[in-house]
C-alpha cells in the first residue's frame, strides 16, 4: 500500500507539472501592471517549458537525475512562495500562470510543501510514471482522485477560475460602491506607508477612471502641504493600490493642450 502510494506520486507530480505548464502558456498574467523580470513573458514561457519537459521525463524514465530535479523544483517553489508571503507583497506566485494572481498565502505554501514531500517520497521509486500508470488498479485511481481533490482544495486558483467564469464584466464597466474602494485602500501597503502623512481622515475628492478610483487626501510632509493621491483598483485584490504625491503649487498658466487659446479669452 505504502509502495503503491509512493509510486503514484510520480504520475501525480507529472500531471501537476503539465497543468502548470499549460496554464502558464495559455493564461497570461495581468499586463496592466509593471512586471518584475521574473514575471516577464520569456521567463514565464521558459519555466513552462522546463515544467513540461520535467513532467515528460518523470513519465518515461526512472532516472535519479530527473527525480532530484523534481525535488529541487518543488522545494524551490515552496521557498519562493514562502518568501513572497513573508514579505507580504501583493504579488501572486504565478505557479499556474494568470490564475495564480492572488497574493501568496498559507494555502499556497502548504500545497507546495506537500508536493515537495511527494517528490522526496517518490524519489526512490524504481519505475517511470508511465509504467506505474500501466499497472494501476481501481484502488490506485481512487487514491489519485483523492490526492487531486486535496490539491484543488489547497489551490487559491480555483476561486479565481470560478470567479472568472461567473463574472465576465470587465473592470471598466463594474459599478463599485465607495465603501469597497475604502476597504481595499485601508488594507493596502500604500495606505500603511502614508497614513501618518494625512492631515485629514476625509478625502478631498474621489473620482473614477476606467479600472481605478482616485482618492485624494490632504497631507503634510516635512511641514509642507501635499495632496496624497491613491489610485485604487476597482476589481478585487489582483492589482496594487498605487500612490502619488502632489506638492502644493498653482496650475496657473498650465496649457490645456487643446491648441491655441481662443481669441477672446483673456489669457
Amino acid at each position: 500500500m505504502i509502495d503503491m502510494l509512493r509510486s503514484l506520486q510520480i504520475p501525480f507530480l507529472a500531471s501537476v507539472l503539465f497543468l502548470a505548464c499549460a496554464a502558464k502558456l495559455t493564461i497570461p498574467g495581468d499586463d496592466a501592471e509593471p512586471v518584475a523580470p521574473h514575471r516577464r513573458r520569456p521567463f514565464v514561457y521558459g519555466v513552462a517549458i522546463a515544467e513540461g519537459t520535467l513532467g515528460i521525463a518523470l513519465l518515461i524514465t526512472p532516472s535519479g537525475f530527473v527525480r532530484l530535479a523534481c525535488v529541487v523544483f518543488f522545494a524551490s517553489a515552496t521557498w519562493i512562495i514562502g518568501d513572497l508571503a513573508r514579505r507580504g507583497v501583493e504579488e501572486g506566485c504565478g505557479c499556474f500562470g494568470g490564475l495564480s494572481a492572488a497574493p501568496a498565502g498559507r494555502r499556497g505554501i502548504v500545497r507546495a510543501a506537500l508536493l515537495t514531500v511527494a517528490a522526496v517520497a517518490s524519489a526512490g521509486v524504481p519505475d517511470g510514471g508511465a509504467a506505474v500508470l500501466a499497472r494501476a488498479g481501481a484502488g490506485a485511481v481512487l487514491l489519485l482522485a483523492a490526492e487531486t481533490a486535496l490539491l484543488v482544495v489547497l489551490s487559491p486558483e480555483l476561486a479565481l477560475a470560478v470567479e472568472r467564469s461567473r463574472n465576465t464584466t470587465p473592470c471598466e464597466l463594474l459599478d463599485v460602491p465607495l465603501a469597497d474602494t475604502y476597504e481595499r485602500l485601508y488594507e493596502s501597503d500604500a495606505w500603511r506607508e502614508h497614513e501618518d502623512d494625512l492631515a485629514s481622515a476625509r478625502p478631498t475628492e474621489t473620482w473614477r477612471e476606467l479600472c481605478h478610483r482616485y482618492v485624494v487626501y490632504p497631507g503634510r510632509i516635512d511641514d509642507r502641504p501635499v495632496d496624497v493621491v491613491f489610485a485604487v483598483p476597482v476589481d478585487g485584490r489582483r492589482a496594487q493600490v498605487r500612490v502619488g504625491l502632489v506638492w502644493e503649487s498653482g496650475c496657473e498658466g498650465q496649457d490645456d493642450d487643446s491648441g491655441p487659446r481662443r481669441v477672446y479669452t483673456s489669457a
Binding site: 509593471p34 473620482w207 477672446y264
Partner: protein, 320 residues
C-alpha cells in the same frame, strides 16, 4: 452633487492623476491634425466682408468673411441673416487666421424624450442637466421629421436640429440621417467574454449647446458612462452602457475621422440621453457603434464638424 466644473478642476485632476506612477496608455492611433478655433458670440454688426461679434466674455471680435463663406439660418442663407442680436458660431478656414468659412446663425438642437404634445408643440425632456424645452415643429418641417421620428408621442426619443425664432425653438430637420431602430429602443447591455473593454472608442459624436446646461465651460463633451459615486459627476440614470466608466473632468483625445482633426476634450457633463439612442452616424461611412460622445458645439466645430449635419465619426482615446 457633481463638482463645479471649471477648467481648473480639469487641470487639477490631470496633475493628480499623472502624479500616480503607473503604466501610461500607449499611443495607439494616429494623433490627428490641429483643431480649428471656432468663435461664437452675438452679432454686433455685419457687412458682406466683416462680422463683428460680442463674445461670451464680453470682448468684441472682428472676423473677415471669406468670399465663399456658407451662412446657415434655417438652411442656406445670405449675409442678410447676420442681423445684430443673433447668436452665431463661426468656423474659420483651415488655412489659419480667422476668416469665416462657415457661419451658423441661431442654430440649436433639441435631443431628448418627448414629455408631452400639444398640436405642433412638443415638450421635450432633455435630461436632468438641460431641463425641458418647448419645441415647435412647423407644418413644413413635420414630414421630414416624421421620416425619422414617425410616432412623436410621449416617451419617444427625438433629436432635431432647429433654429431660434423670436424666443421659440423651431425644429427643422431630424439630426440623424440613420434610422433609430425603434422610438423607445434602448440598447441591450453587451455581454462580453473578454477581460476588458477597449479604451479607444470608435463611434458617433453628436453636439449640444452647453448654454442650456448652465455650465460656464464651453469646450468639452458629455459622456454617457460617468461613475455615479463620489465626485465623479454621474447622473445615475439611463440604461447601463457598454462604455468604460469615467468621471467629470476626465479627458479624452478625440479625433474626427471625417476630417482628421483632433483635440483633447474634457468631460464636462453626464450624457444621460446619448446612451439611449441606437442610431449610427453615416457621415464618411457608417460609424462602428452608436453615440459615444456629445461634444459642445464649439468642440464639434473645432474638429471640423458641420452643425447642420448633426454628427461625425470619432476615434476617442481615454486618458488623453
Amino acid at each position: 452633487m457633481p463638482p463645479l466644473l471649471t477648467r481648473d478642476l480639469v487641470l487639477r485632476r490631470r496633475r493628480l492623476r499623472e502624479a500616480v506612477p503607473g503604466p501610461r496608455p500607449p499611443e495607439q492611433h494616429e494623433a490627428g491634425g490641429r483643431p480649428l478655433r471656432s468663435v461664437e458670440g452675438t452679432v454686433v454688426e455685419a457687412s458682406p466682408h466683416l462680422l463683428v461679434l460680442a463674445a461670451p466674455d464680453g470682448s468684441e471680435v472682428r472676423l473677415p468673411i471669406s468670399a465663399n463663406a456658407f451662412i446657415w439660418h434655417a438652411g442656406a442663407a445670405g449675409a442678410g441673416a447676420l442681423q445684430p442680436g443673433r447668436d452665431v458660431i463661426v468656423r474659420p478656414t483651415g488655412t489659419g487666421g480667422l476668416a469665416a468659412e462657415r457661419i451658423w446663425v441661431d442654430i440649436t438642437r433639441v435631443t431628448g424624450v418627448i414629455a408631452g404634445r400639444s398640436g405642433h408643440v412638443l415638450e421635450v425632456d432633455a435630461g436632468p442637466h438641460r431641463g425641458r424645452t418647448a419645441l415647435v415643429i412647423p407644418a413644413e418641417a413635420m414630414s421630414s421629421i416624421r421620416v425619422r421620428h414617425p410616432l412623436l408621442e410621449t416617451g419617444s426619443l427625438i433629436d432635431v436640429i432647429g433654429v431660434r425664432r423670436g424666443g421659440e425653438i423651431h425644429g427643422l430637420q431630424p439630426a440623424s440621417k440613420s434610422p433609430q431602430p425603434a422610438s423607445h429602443a434602448e440598447p441591450a447591455r453587451a455581454r462580453r467574454r473578454s477581460g476588458s473593454v477597449p479604451t479607444i472608442l470608435r463611434g458617433t459624436a453628436t453636439w449640444y449647446d452647453p448654454a442650456r446646461s448652465g455650465y460656464a465651460e464651453r469646450h468639452g463633451a458629455a459622456y454617457p458612462a460617468l461613475d455615479s459615486h463620489g465626485d465623479a459627476g454621474g447622473c445615475g440614470t439611463g440604461p447601463p452602457s457598454p462604455l468604460p466608466l469615467l468621471s467629470i473632468a476626465s479627458e479624452l483625445h478625440v479625433r474626427n475621422d471625417c476630417t482628421g482633426l483632433a483635440t483633447r476634450v474634457p468631460i464636462i457633463e453626464c450624457g444621460c440621453l446619448a446612451a439611449r439612442f441606437c442610431d449610427r452616424c453615416v457621415r464618411c461611412g457608417t460609424s462602428p457603434r452608436g453615440r459615444v460622445l456629445e461634444l459642445t458645439r464649439t468642440a464639434f466645430v473645432d474638429l471640423g464638424g458641420d452643425l447642420d449635419a448633426g454628427c461625425f465619426n470619432v476615434t476617442a482615446r481615454v486618458g488623453a
